[in-house]
């Protein structure tokens, strides 16, 4: 009943280790508190606090990068090489979570920089805005490393509640308010469904710990298979996640919220929120695919995979078809987000080390290109006051840099080589093909599901050309109604150029990113951890050309 000294000892050493590993999140927490308290100090109460928020997030990013296992960590005591469970196994610190943590912090820094440039929060409400954004990212980071259903639920809510507020952040605008309303109503019902699913699942197994549930599911699959509450519960959870992913038919909030909210918030919702939701989905599906590995005949695994594959295909197709007729750029990008979510969901049909690497690459590339696209929408909105297609007419005459940047981002979203979008799509397609080919040996039906997905994905790419290229055409070939040049500040130009340069560089040099992503995907390896056998000819030489063609 009472803790023994050895227990206290163990808990305190564990806690120290966990807190150290949790340092980036703690920095963000401290930043939030500091931002809120700054309002109480007279000299700071009217200052724009964006640069402070940016600085703090950069600091958190630096720490998060230090925790990557292959780096020589300055804090050597953190044993993060394997899958370490922390905080009484509520969280797991594995390479997958670490990768996404870095990813989300990179996004946070970029998005804070963007908001500084576009001035979406003014000095008075800057503390609110940055608190909300950082809080949302914090929730997403927890989503990415959740190891317990309770943690998953709390993290999803932590990510959602700030997003509701952000959607309606422009208080004076009706559209913003309506977007927030829709988001909160839809989100509340979806989280109710998800929570019900969690109650069924956690209740049946008597624990919320995902590894334990995974083991129990695997054991059950050897017997008579999952019971009704388990199946219904997992479907409900997936529906809750489907809402965050804006998977059809749970996507309705997405276009309305995107078109009502500011473009900066749109970027936040479409990149960070999707990435976190995908991460949690991957973790959750992995819990269940643990059973499907016992044998190819197991129905629950394959039925779940089938349903997920169907949803992914419908999501991608719906998003692309609906985007064709849009005239509002933000709405178009919202549907494009739905379509990309569909493609990313396809990668998750067979969750494992093979598919998670490409998925992470896809998300990372998606960060660059989608953030870039939304940034340009925001910059053009600031100068023209419009977010419609007409504002982009003849943009090449008015702001060549923005037009070229937007074209690069759109072509990358479409999947043109040599941009990052092509590399990402290529890898996801390759995974679908290879998984299908490997499964073809013993489970023909499932193999055809993969080939079918491949066909759907290819068709979707063709359909998406319709609206991406239309926008490129409008920007470059048509004459502007108002030919006055659009002034682009140095900072905005730098942001757009850096993002476009990265889109190009990552599309040409796939390697550093694919290597990190593949390293991260090894968290999903069921087999005991193995180090890749070193290839002698490759390791014998040091790389001659570093990333981005830089000579070391």
């Amino acid at each position: 009943m009472f803790p023994t000294p050895s227990f206290v000892e163990r808990v305190s050493t564990d806690l120290q280790r966990d807190l150290l590993a949790f340092l980036p999140e703690l920095i963000l927490c401290a930043t939030i508190v500091a931002l809120l308290l700054a309002r109480l100090v007279t000299p700071l109460s009217r200052k724009h606090l964006g640069s402070f928020a940016l600085l703090a997030s950069g600091c958190a990013l630096a720490f998060a990068i230090c925790f990557w296992p292959e780096r020589s960590a300055p804090i050597g005591s953190v044993p993060l090489s394997g899958n370490v469970e922390g905080f009484s196994s509520l969280l797991v610190f594995d390479t997958f979570g670490l990768y996404l943590r870095v990813f989300l912090l990179v996004f946070l820094c970029c998005s804070l920089w963007l908001s500084l440039l576009t001035g979406i929060p003014d000095a008075e409400d800057s503390a609110d805005y940055y608190t909300l954004v950082i809080g949302g990212i914090l929730g997403m980071m927890l989503m990415a490393s959740a190891n317990h259903l309770l943690m998953a639920f709390v993290a999803v809510e932590m990510a959602s509640v700030p997003s509701y507020a952000l959607a309606g952040f422009l208080k004076g605008r009706r559209q913003g308010s309506e977007a927030a309303l829709k988001y909160v109503v839809y989100g509340a019902s979806a989280s109710g469904v998800m929570l019900y699913g969690i109650s069924l699942l956690a209740g049946t197994f008597g624990t919320g710990s995902m590894p334990l549930i995974s083991r129990a599911v695997a054991v059950a699959s050897l017997g008579e298979g999952p019971t009704l509450p388990v199946l219904a519960g997992s479907i409900c959870i997936l529906i809750g996640l489907g809402f965050k992913l804006s998977a059809v038919p749970f996507h309705f909030w997405c276009p309305d919220v995107f078109s009502g909210a500011a473009a900066e918030v749109g970027a936040f919702l479409s990149v960070a929120s999707k990435a976190a939701a995908l991460a949690l989905t991957a973790r959750f599906l992995f819990v269940f695919s643990g059973s499907s590995r016992t044998g190819p005949d197991d129905l629950s695994g394959s039925a779940l995979a089938l349903g997920w594959a169907f949803m992914a295909a419908v999501t991608a197709t719906f998003g692309n078809l609906a985007a064709l007729a849009q005239t509002n750029i933000k709405r178009m990008l919202a549907y494009s987000t739905i379509a990309h979510a569909g493609i990313m969901m396809m990668a998750l049909v067979a969750v494992g080390p093979r598919s998670v690497g490409p998925l992470l690459y896809y998300i990372s590339g998606y960060l660059l290109m989608n953030l870039g696209a939304f940034a340009i929408v925001a910059l053009v909105r600031n100068r023209t006051g419009s977010e419609n297609l007409d504002a982009f007419r003849g943009l090449i005459r008015r702001a060549p840099l923005l037009a070229v940047g937007m074209s690069i981002f759109l072509l990358s979203l479409l999947g043109m080589p040599p941009l990052v979008g092509f590399a990402a799509k290529f890898q996801v397609f390759a995974v679908l093909y290879e998984t299908g080919r490997d499964l073809g040996g013993h489970d023909g039906m499932i193999a055809w599901v993969y080939f079918g997905l491949l066909v759907v994905a290819a068709l979707n790419t063709a359909i998406s050309a319709g609206y991406y290229l239309k926008l490129v055409k409008v920007m470059t070939l048509e004459d502007p109604a108002d030919p006055s040049p659009i002034r682009v500040s140095i900072g905005s130009g730098a942001l757009v150029s850096i993002l476009a340069g990265l889109v190009l560089a990552a599309g040409v040099f796939w390697n550093p990113l694919t290597q990190y992503a593949n390293r991260a995907s090894q968290s999903f390896d069921l087999a005991p951890k193995f180090e890749k056998p070193a290839k002698i000819p490759k390791d014998a030489v040091r790389p001659a050309i570093g990333p981005k063609g830089k000579i070391k």
Binding site: P249, F509, V541
Partner: protein
């Protein structure tokens, strides 16, 4: 940086390759920044500074100097690398050399499987004697041509340049010229150091693109645009074959690395059926046929002379067109004996074809272009019959004297105020003595005069051919035709020189000709030196003791054992010399002593003359066989496609749902997709209660379906 460089000497080559790329990137970024700043140059201080710092309205001169400096540095590094490599290869064991002069790094690893990445593509370099020699050649020749271009492209420096052929005024494109030239140099050097086929393929396409842009440099001229298109399209035919070859190789070998492929081939033989191995070889060779302008894809090269003359010299004579020959040499083990025979015969046809057409051309650049085609044929023939060293040695020597000849012709063209017709020249020897003299060196070299570089390589080719022909009598043509063509070569080259430089001026352009500026003369003089000495060895009079040949011998793949027999070689050499002498004598008789009037020969051999003059009617035949049918097919499908409507109604017609025509079907598909998109949007009613209802109903439906499938099914 420096320690990185010194760690492995092979990295000299990486730096030398990347230098032109860095210059390209700098010029590109500079141009981009200038374009971005342009709209604000009146209003914004910083933008104005950037704009005028980067040249303002005028083409940026310093960019050209930067590019020249970059390639010159590359050349210096290449020469240092060559010397050090030769030292190393003398002193060290092959494994050590391999360790010091080859590296690779992974470029893309896609997907993780249990045994490493699912797909792994590498970037790497590997230096052997062939690469080292060719690299030095390309870098040095490029440097000369860059310097020459500084002078030749001088009139592109004007703010508004008037194109006299297209009659348009446009801004000068001095900077753009060097931009593309730098990119070309990077691609070409990268192609040479690449240790895998994939990297070769990328560079291959890049040089093709650069060639396209540079042929179409004066794109206001219709002919330039057409020529650029032609070059690009014809090369695509070859590249299609190349890609088929690559696909087969990747499927069966699982790697693109040359050494790995060759090791596998040497130990286990081809891992694929024999016919696929042959197809892979033919595919790769087809790529080389396109790039090296071999029969039947040779037609693009003469048209490519629409580009500026330095481009013709660098890309379409000295380096890029030789890439095909280089690749055949590099991939030699991939060719089965039958494919090699095919290569030899292709080369034979090409060399004869090119030489005969060159006999009657009157445009100075076209004569040189056809002579390039013919010389490339010699190289291919040599490779095909197993004369690996002979073929690649000719590639090296040819690069120097052909660059010299082209630059000389550029000097002549500039001196004669952009007159290219040989019939209007004459007597230029006195007006531009240095050009005349240096070109004479080139002519002597290509004609195969003893002690000039061309003599050594051509002699080697012919002796190899003779050995091959004597070994197998049914292939006697492989010796007779080149021998005869050697005579033709001497004839048409001397014809060119006599027409241009001797006699009296036949036109006011040549009357007012003047010697070119120093930036153009100096490269000519420098290039004349290697055109003479590059193949020398001791004893000087024995082509078999050429030091170049001995160096190349080190890189020779094991199977390239030519049937070169010592006893016959001298006979072949003497025969070649006799043929060349005959050719020169004929040229002297006709064009200097004027014993025979060329017009009377034309009249007597009217049909043959016309046949040659029209380039064997290749363009016409291709036109009739491929181009017209394609266009006709296009029109046919267009008719099938949509109802022929007046242009005014075309738009309306496009939108009508005429399902009977292809366009109609596509329209139905496209508009149908759009309509489905529109229909799908109906669900997005903006009514949140409906959204939530759908959410709940879908949830119930999902649960129900799964429960049904699972517990019933």
């Amino acid at each position: 940086m420096l320690s990185w460089l010194l760690a492995t000497p092979g990295r000299l080559y990486v730096v030398a390759t990347l230098l032109p790329l860095a210059v390209f990137a700098l010029l590109l970024i500079g141009g981009g920044v200038r374009a971005v700043c342009r709209p604000y140059r009146e209003t914004h201080g910083f933008a104005r500074f950037c704009y005028f710092f980067l040249g303002g309205h005028k083409p940026l001169k310093s960019g050209a100097y930067l590019a020249t400096a970059g390639i010159a540095a590359s050349a210096v590094l290449a020469v240092i690398g060559l010397v050090r490599f030769l030292d190393d290869s003398h002193a060290l064991s092959p494994i050590e050399v391999e360790h010091r002069w080859a590296e690779r790094t992974s470029w893309a690893e896609v997907g993780a499987t249990e045994s490493g990445p699912a797909i792994a593509l590498d970037l790497g370099y590997r230096i052997d004697h062939l690469t080292a020699l060719l690299f030095a050649m390309v870098a040095c020749v490029s440097t000369m041509i860059f310097v020459f271009s500084l002078g030749y492209m001088h009139d592109e420096m004007e703010e508004t340049h008037e194109d006299h052929e297209a009659h348009v005024k446009r801004p000068g494109r001095y900077g753009r010229f060097f931009l593309f030239l730098s990119l070309f140099c990077f691609s070409m050097l990268n192609l040479l150091i690449a240790d895998n086929l994939f990297q070769v393929f990328i560079s291959w396409e890049l040089v093709g693109v650069c060639s396209f842009f540079l042929i179409g440099f004066y794109h206001e001229r219709r002919s330039a645009g057409l020529a650029a298109n032609k070059a690009f399209i014809v090369n695509r035919i070859g590249d299609a074959g190349f890609m088929i070859g690559l696909a087969i190789i990747w499927t069966y070998f699982g790697t693109f690395n040359f050494q790995e492929i060759f090791t596998k081939l040497a130990s286990d033989g081809p891992p694929m059926p024999a016919y696929l191995f042959a197809i892979a070889g033919i595919g790769v060779f087809l790529g080389c046929v396109g790039k090296s302008a071999q029969f039947p894809l040779h037609t693009w090269l003469p048209d490519a002379m629409e580009g500026p003359t330095p481009v013709s010299a660098l890309i379409h004579a000295a380096t890029m067109v030789a890439a095909g020959v280089y690749l055949v040499g590099r991939c030699y083990p991939l060719f089965s004996p039958d494919v090699r025979l095919l290569i030899a015969y292709t080369g034979m046809i090409t060399l004869f074809l090119g030489a005969t057409i060159a006999l009657v051309q009157t445009d100075i650049k076209r004569v040189l272009a056809y002579s390039t085609v013919s010389q490339l044929g010699f190289m291919m023939l040599a490779l095909g019959i197993g004369g690996w060293v002979a073929g690649l040695m000719h590639l090296l020597t040819h690069a120097f004297f052909k660059a010299l000849l082209f630059l000389g012709s550029g000097s002549v063209i500039l001196g004669c105020h952009h007159e290219q017709d040989l019939r209007k020249m004459g007597g230029l020897r006195r007006k531009m003595p240095i050009t005349a003299f240096t070109m004479l060196v080139g002519v002597l070299a290509i004609a195969g005069t003893p002690f000039f570089s061309g003599w050594y390589s051509k002699d080697l080719i012919l002796s190899n051919a003779m050995g091959f022909a004597l070994h197998d009598n049914q292939h006697m043509a492989l010796f007779i035709v080149p021998l005869f063509t050697a005579g033709l070569t001497a004839f048409y080259m001397f014809r060119l020189w006599f027409l241009a430089f001797t006699g009296q001026p036949r036109d006011h352009a040549s009357e007012h000709a003047h010697e070119s500026p120093l930036t153009m003369i100096v490269p000519l003089m420098i290039l004349a030196v290697p055109s003479i000495i590059v193949a020398w060895g001791w004893p000087l009079w024995d082509p078999h003791s050429s030091s170049l040949a001995h160096l190349l011998e080190h890189a020779k793949p094991g199977m390239a054992n030519g049937l070169d027999r010592e006893d016959e070689t001298h006979l072949a050499g003497w025969l070649a010399l006799a043929a060349a002498a005959l050719g020169v004598t004929t040229a002297v008789f006709i064009y200097v002593l004027k014993k025979v009037d060329p017009a009377s020969i034309q009249a007597k051999a009217g049909a043959l003359y016309g046949f040659l003059k029209e380039k064997w009617y290749f363009d016409e035949v291709y036109d009739a066989m491929f181009v017209r049918p394609t266009i006709a097919l296009g029109f046919c499908s267009a008719r099938f496609d949509k109802k022929s409507t007046p242009a005014a109604q075309a738009e309306v017609a496009d939108r009508t749902m005429n399902v009977t025509s292809l366009d109609g079907v596509l329209n139905v598909l496209g508009l149908g997709t759009l309509a489905i998109g529109g229909k799908l949007r109906v669900t997005q009613s903006g009514y949140i209660r409906r959204y939530v209802t759908v959410l709940m109903v879908a949830t119930l439906a999902f649960v129900a379906v799964f429960v049904a499938v699972y517990f019933v099914g």
